[in-house]
Each structure stands twice: as structure tokens, then as C-alpha cells.
Symmetry: C2
Subunit: 431 residues, 2 copies
């Protein structure tokens, strides 16, 4: 990477916990100065931030990016019909090129809506890595492991997971990291989960898993293992601060204690949980209990977009109406979920998630000259409750400008839409 | 209005109930031809619809437009504190110029997100009418009447309501109509409600009222009147097919029967009901029972935007998670709420709400060349679940192009933002 400096001048810096006026200087991939006034001679490139607000790039902590190809394929169906008759038959014909095409469309969508880091679990993850490399985003990737209690399948899943770790971990100037991705306690055997725990320690990588998304899967785990999912995972020694559990909708009080005790990270996916009628995670309670709850969109087949700004609003509103308490999950808290807690959930809190000296320059500017920010008051309120992804103006990742004035530099927008359209048509025609 | 013809050529016509390819010809204010192929020589202006979808302009059936000035003023507070310490003190200093400024900002926001008709209840409604006239939108306006059981206040409220009816009803080429707007059964006396019923009949106008938004107000009505709100309104002879009740969150089975029997129209406001923690209206059940439920954003102080495309998604997702049924309030049904049922709720079903010969040309084109519509499949699914207001490209009301390629012709965007910003600052500084 060539040496480069960028000055974001005279803006409103909106960080989790603090909003202030100022300028931010970037050198290479890092934030090197934050102060009230920095002269323009200090930087090769100057971005006028005076009609904008600056936020940390948002972290989408649970998605299946290539599923953008399945956007709108089937909606409003019950879960069994949706999976068995629509999603799984199409997924059976996936290949690396399709996954690349879908991931590229997802990267485009995330850049345009202010997400700079995402946590992805799916298949053909080295092809997803290609899209991350091309687009300039930051990502943690995991191969989704499903053994259905079969030993042969288990071996293959480890082979593929380790192939991806060895090929992709810490590539793309460190923007790509790889985790283990055991799908869930109801689709993976105890042997797989125990071996994941052991190998995650060995390789020094994290674990990304779905837990307790639906009541039905909780019942399956109780039937198979004699206890609820988090109890079971706790008892086999699977849990730890390096485990990110997506969904966590159906929780007993004891499971909440287990999550807290083990410092397990949660990814809350409200739009997907609503659309699939999975239920409502007690997020407000978890956060008030000191549990690290981040925010994710889930895949585009069950959302159906990857707009984290929309997700901010849905998350907050859902907690309020569910608790009948207007103060639940206020704008600041949900903004923190999408930034600082997102970074922590992915084990990246030393690198990203806030606008601080020495952190990576993963930054997003939103346009204040819009109806959503007028009259201009509390920027976090406008971001959470009034804005949407289209208010994002400029996106910087690892010190590189990916988008400015809504023009994307790393990938060509029209070409990405065409590649994805063609891949989706071909893929669906096969099933 | 000068005579004019517009041809929307080679598009996808997405009407409630039916999607088909075709072209639409507009002459003056009306749709005069819908067919597979219409030659370009038939029109003075031709809009290429080949990379777009065409929908009926959306109907926002309950809002308080001038409250855009209060956007983000106070969030995440309990209802009493929000009203008593923030909203009401500011509203005490409202005047006609402020209401015009706020309404203008609201009109801008609605045009940009594909709403062509709105149903507004607030104050200084002749100034709101000015904003409607300037912007080119269609609206039903009502002065919000609150007598707090005081006779003097009641007289003044009728004076103002009748002033607005006489001044504004059927103005702006018929784009503006006026209704009576008794605020609610807990802020209005039975005498006021009975006189509204009588005078609405006399003037031939409709009635717009809030009913059963919160559990607390239901309890107040039970205490004051000895019965639940819809029972009470039924028993005093207030209800009828010309009554639009906003919210209708807390309903007994008997009240649902009353609503159905009287053909009372409902405006469902999910984002506001969630943000204010009011509760969840049983909308899916009401619609399945044949009740006309339309969709509204409520005011920007409790939403905090006026984006009906966002509201479509929130409405559908909220019913699904509340009933734990993925099939609840599917995309087609919620789209119908925002178009055809919206028109019916406002008594305008002969004029607007669908793309039909002889109806007013209130039409919206959305851009298909976007990530939200890729891969392109079921347009209603993409509209409801993936899109947002920024996907709106062109807006036509009463045969006049208000926006094309996101450029607004009737009002000047930068000027509107400035007027609203200044008005809001001045207004809030007074309280």
C-alpha cells in the first residue's frame, strides 16, 4: 500500500459516547490526529466535512453475504417451506463464482450504506474473500460447518475450514481474518463443536455460530442433548469470550447468566428475526446486564437488505414496543451496538469501532444537507431514527477511500449489478 | 392548468393485485390509456420506464406534517415527559409561518420518498395548505380540535375548523380537501364529538380522529365514559364509513366488530407505535376480517421520518413477529394498505390508489438499477423488504411532474431545508 494522508476537515465527530466538532487526520491505514483544527497542508487529500457528520464505519456482525443472490426469491412463507422448497434447493447449486458475484453485490450495498466491516458465514469463502479484497472492505469470514452428526461430513468440514484459514487469514493487508463457523448446536455434533473449540485455540481464531434463533431449534437441542443450547455449549466447554453467537432469541435466565459469565458475544438481527417470525431477543436486558450485544442484518434472503442504518432503527423500536418502555435501547446504545460493540464482538476492538488515535481509519461521512438531518439537532438521533443508507456520502476503510460523494472507486457499480443479476438468474434456473 | 400529455413508456406497472408490463398515457390530470405499447407521438413528454417500476403514488393516511420541525427534538423519553417537557412547550409557540415551513419540509420529504397524498391533522392548516399548493402534492387537511371538555374552547375549535373548510376545501385544482379533526375521545367532550358528526354531514366532509393509541388513554375513556373508546363513539352515533381512526392499537373483540360494522377506516402507524411504546395494533387480524386498514407515518417527532417505504417493511415485519407467523401481512397486503386502502380510507378511492383508466395521474417510478432491486424478481417484495425512499426516481401528482431523476421542480430543495432549519431554531428558542 502506498503511503497516503487524508484530512477530514471541520466536521462533527460522532463517536459512541461522545460527539464533538473537529478534524481527523489519517496517515496510511491509521488515525494519527484528532483535534479542533488541522491545517490543510498536513495532508495530500482534504475532505470538507463541514456539512457532514463523521461516524466510525459500522460493523455488521452477522451476515451471509452471497445470499444477496437470493434476495426476494421467496418471502412470506413459513420457515420449513422457505428453506426446503426455495433456499436449500438453490444453495445446492452454489459454486465459487456465484458466491463471489453475490458477495460483490453485498459489498457494494454495504459500502453504499456505511458498513465497513462484516462478519460472514457461508460457503466458498475464499471466493467471498476475493470480493472483500476487490471492494476494499474489512471482514471476518468463516466456512459454515454442518455435519448433521455424520463423521465423514465432519472431516470434510474441518478440511474446508482449515483450507480457508490457511489461505485467507490475515490477507488483504490484514483486512481479512478467518474464524471457525460451526453452524449451530442443532446441525453440528458435539464432536464437531468440541473439535472446533480445540482447533480455534490452536489456530488462534474466533468462533462464529448461530444459537437459539427459533423456539423449534431450542426444542430440538433439548431433545437431543437434554438441555437448552447455551447450557449444552457451556457444559461441553465450548463457550468463551472468542465466541460470537448470532440471534440468541430464546434464552432462559440461566442461559443469560452463562452468556455473561463466559463473556460470549451476541449478534442481534432484528429485521431477520421479525421477517422469519423467530421471536424477539431480550436485547435491552442483555445490554443492561453488561453483555456485549452487536448488530447484524443476517443474509439478504431474510431481511432483505444489508442497510445497517435501517437496522439501527428497527432494533431500537422493537425493544421499545416489546418492553412497552420508550426509554429502552435508546439511540446512543443502539449506535454503540453497530460500532464499538460490533468491533468487540469480532475481537477487533483494538483496531476499529471508534474514532480514536492509533485505530484503523475505517470511517463514514453522512450528508447533513438532507431532509433526514433537518432541522439539525442530535446527530445520533437523526442517524438512528430518521436516516437511511442513502444518507452515507463517503466511506474510508483502512485509510483508503472506497466511496466519495456516493461514487465508488474500488469496484464498478453497474458491472457489479450486472454480474450479480446474471449469476442469480443462472443459479436459480438450475434448481 | 395548461393541457399536457405525458407518456410513461415500457415499464413494469405494479398495481395492488396485479403486476404487468406496459405503458401509461396521462392527459392533463388523468390516466387515459394503459396498454402494452403506446407510440411516443401520442405525448408531449415521454418518460422511459424501461429500467423502472411504476406504482400508484403512496397515501400517508395519518401525519402531522409541520412536526418535521420537532424531528429529533426529544427521543427515548417516556410519553409524559416527552409531551409535557418538550413537545407541548414548543407547540405553544407555533404560528402560521412555522407551520408552513415545517409542512414544506414534510412535502419535500414525501415527494422524495414516493408519497403523493397525505392526511394531516394539526394547526394553522391554511398555512399547511400553502405548502401543499406550492409543492404540488395532494392532501386532506383537518384542524386538530381539542376542547378538554370546555365550552369556550369548543366554540373556538368549530370556528377554526369551519374557517379552514370554507377557505381551503376543494382548492388547488381539487388537490386539497378538508375534514373535521377532533383530536380524540379523551381530549374532546361528547358535545364536541356529537357536533362534529352533525357538521361533517352538513358540510359533506370526512372525520379524522385518534382512537386507542395507548392503553392509558383507553383507561381514561373507560373512567370518563364508562366504556371503551370505540364502544363510546358507537353509542353516541359518531362512527361511520367517513371516519378515519388513527392508531387503533388497543381493541376488544367487540370493538373490532363495531369497527367492521360501521366500516370505520383505520390508519396504522407502526413506527410511531413502536417508538412511543404504545403497543401493537392487531392489523393482520383486522385486514383478514375485511376492515380497511391504511398506513401512516404519524408526525416526524415520533417516527422520525415520513418514508412510507420504510413504513411498509416495519408494518409487515411487526405483524410477523407479533403473531409468530411468517405469512402475516405479506408484501402484497402491506403494499395495498399504502395505496388502495389509503385511498379508500380517505374517501378518495374513485380518484387515486391504483393505476386505472380515468383515475388521477398520481404515479411514482422507482429505479430498478439499484442494489435493492438486484437481482430483479418480485417488484413488490423488493419495494417492501429491500428498498427505501431513495429508490424513488420520479413523482407525478395530478398529471404534473413534481420530481424527475430526483430533481424536484415545484419547490427548491436547498431553500426548503434552509427555511425549515431557521424556523425550527427560532421556534425552539422561544420555549
Amino acid at each position: 500500500m502506498e503511503s497516503k494522508s487524508i484530512l477530514i476537515k471541520d466536521t462533527v465527530i460522532v463517536d459512541p459516547g461522545k460527539t464533538k466538532k473537529g478534524s481527523v487526520l489519517i496517515e496510511n491505514d491509521k488515525i494519527v490526529e484528532i483535534s479542533k483544527d488541522i491545517g490543510v497542508n498536513n495532508a495530500e487529500e482534504v475532505i470538507d466535512g463541514s456539512d457532514k457528520i463523521l461516524i466510525p464505519g459500522m460493523v455488521n456482525s452477522h451476515t451471509h453475504l452471497s445470499m444477496t443472490l437470493l434476495r426476494g426469491l421467496a418471502d412470506d412463507l413459513n420457515l420449513d417451506e422457505w428453506l426446503n422448497e426455495h433456499i436449500w434447493p438453490v444453495e445446492a447449486n452454489l459454486n465459487g463464482d456465484y458466491c463471489y458475484a453475490g458477495a460483490l453485490l453485498g459489498c457494494l450495498e454495504m459500502i453504499k450504506s456505511g458498513t465497513t466491516t462484516f462478519n460472514d458465514m457461508y460457503f466458498f469463502m475464499d471466493d467471498v474473500a476475493r470480493a472483500v479484497e476487490d471492494s476494499g472492505l474489512r471482514a471476518k469470514l468463516s466456512h459454515g460447518m454442518i455435519d448433521l452428526f455424520d463423521e465423514e461430513k465432519r472431516k470434510n468440514e474441518f478440511k474446508e475450514s482449515i483450507r480457508i484459514i490457511e489461505k485467507c487469514h490475515n490477507t488483504a493487508d490484514g483486512r481479512i481474518k478467518v474464524d471457525f463457523g460451526p453452524h449451530s448446536p442443532y446441525t453440528c455434533s458435539p464432536e464437531l463443536l468440541e473439535e472446533v473449540r480445540e482447533k480455534a485455540n490452536k489456530y488462534g481464531v474466533n468462533i462464529h455460530i448461530h444459537v437459539s434463533e427459533t423456539k423449534n431449534e431450542v426444542d430440538q437441542v433439548i431433545q437431543a442433548q437434554g438441555k437448552r443450547p447455551f447450557e449444552y455449549l457451556h457444559d461441553i466447554g465450548f463457550l468463551g469470550e472468542d465466541v460470537l453467537a448470532a440471534h440468541a432469541v430464546w434464552l432462559s435466565d440461566y442461559e443469560k447468566e452463562i452468556i455473561k459469565e463466559n463473556d460470549v458475544k451476541i449478534s442481534h438481527n432484528p429485521a431477520s428475526n421479525m421477517k422469519l417470525a423467530s421471536g424477539i431477543s431480550p436485547v435491552n436486558e442483555l445490554i443492561n446486564n453488561g453483555i456485549c450485544v452487536s448488530l447484524g442484518t443476517d443474509g439478504a434472503a431474510s431481511n432483505n437488505n444489508l442497510d445497517m442504518i435501517e437496522e439501527l432503527k428497527i432494533a431500537s423500536l422493537l425493544q421499545k414496543v416489546n418492553t412497552l418502555d420508550t426509554t429502552a435501547l435508546n439511540a446512543s446504545k443502539v449506535f454503540k451496538m453497530a460500532t464499538f460493540y460490533g468491533a468487540r464482538a469480532l475481537g477487533l476492538e483494538d483496531e476499529i469501532g471508534s474514532i480514536e488515535l492509533g485505530k484503523k481509519a475505517d470511517l463514514v461521512l453522512l450528508d447533513r444537507n438532507s431532509e433526514h438531518f433537518t432541522p439539525y439537532r442530535h446527530p445520533i438521533s437523526h442517524l438512528v431514527y430518521a436516516a437511511n443508507g442513502s444518507d452515507v456520502n463517503t466511506v474510508i476503510v483502512n485509510g483508503e477511500i472506497l466511496m466519495k460523494d456516493r461514487d465508488i472507486f474500488t469496484i464498478e457499480e453497474a458491472a457489479v449489478l450486472e454480474i450479480a443479476e446474471n449469476a442469480a438468474e443462472e443459479l436459480v434456473s438450475k434448481s
